[in-house]
């Protein structure tokens, strides 16, 4: 069961998500920075937004550690697969 916790401020999270989305759009189209840096920053922002949804809307922050692990297990598998596939093009 969820540990005792104060309910998160969902509206505040919504504001964060809106701000991060705006930041992504600005980054993608307005800012004159190098392609690789842009890629990295955009991915970072996307992951941050995804984490906000996962931790606060899906309440993962307040669940037991083993449920969190279970939710996160697929991610390293996905990363391994993608990296292996990409490595075909760097030799």
């Amino acid at each position: 069961m969820e540990t005792a916790h104060k309910r998160p401020n969902y509206i505040l999270i919504w504001v964060y998500l809106a701000v991060l989305t705006a930041a992504e759009l600005a980054l993608a189209f307005e800012l004159p920075i190098s392609r690789n840096l842009k890629l990295l920053l955009l991915l970072f922002l996307a992951v941050w937004k995804a984490a906000l949804v996962g931790l606060f809307f899906m309440h993962l922050k307040f669940e037991r550690w083993n449920l969190r692990i279970m939710a996160l297990i697929p991610l390293p598998l996905a990363v391994i697969f993608i990296l292996a596939g990409m490595s075909e093009h760097i030799w």
């Binding site: 993608a28 995804a50 596939g85």
Partner: protein, 225 residues
């Protein structure tokens, strides 16, 4: 014991069992299902990354084929529907079914609008010549390929990956809208949810947030990069 924990206990059955993950079956089942969904989208998104990374030749620049403005609005809409979903959940946790029904209805409308806009976008794209196999001969976009604005070599892959990823995401959103509508009509409206029993709302909520989460990733890597 907090309010939340007390109500969760009442969603558990009266027969004794070993302590599991301290999460009732429906919710645990949904998390397990979402793990499989992550792998499914990992296959589709991974394919996109691998194909794009390995493509010889440029990829189309963002914003030329796809309409960023409408999609950015759509992204915002989906995020809003995620907020309304979690507010519905909070409402029923507090024992306010009326407020829960309001927010659930808002979520359904938000989701349905998202799908509607996506469908509109697809029709628009096909009309301009963007299809799963790439760019259609003689279309508006074919002219852009001819004058070099769009790279001929990778448009086939662009079409394949775009429609598959966003198509399956849209399919998942549609299933979510249908499920929520079903729950709204059969459980929420007749007042079957209460402070003691709101498992269905929490479970469908998890699915809905997941669908939003996948879109957050997709929007970035498909539309903005």
């Amino acid at each position: 014991m907090t309010q939340a924990a007390a109500t969760v206990d009442q969603m558990l059955p009266p027969y004794p069992a070993e302590r599991g993950l301290d999460v009732y079956n429906k919710k645990l089942g949904m998390w397990v299902f979402l793990a499989s969904e992550v792998m499914f989208f990992a296959a589709l998104i991974g394919t996109y990354v691998i194909l794009r990374f390995g493509a010889t030749g440029e990829w189309a620049k963002p914003g030329i084929v796809l309409n960023i403005k409408i999609t950015a609005f759509n992204t915002f809409l989906l995020i809003c529907s995620s907020v309304s979903m979690v507010k519905a959940y909070a409402a029923i946790q507090d024992g306010d079914p009326k407020k829960m029904r309001f927010w659930l209805l808002m979520t359904i409308l938000g989701g349905a609008t998202f799908v509607g806009i996506q469908v509109y976008e697809y029709i628009h794209l096909v009309e301009h010549g963007f299809v799963p196999s790439g760019v259609r001969e003689g279309s508006e976009l074919a002219a852009l390929v001819a004058n070099g604005t769009l790279p001929a070599a990778t448009m086939g892959l662009y079409g394949s990956t775009f429609f598959t990823m966003t198509g399956f995401h849209g399919f998942h959103v549609t299933c979510g809208v249908i499920s929520m509508t079903y729950l709204y009509l059969t459980k929420a409206l007749p007042g079957k949810y209460s402070k003691q029993d709101y498992g269905g709302i929490e479970t469908v909520g998890l699915y809905w947030h997941f669908v939003d989460l996948v879109w957050i990733i997709l929007f970035t890597i498909v539309y903005l990069i």
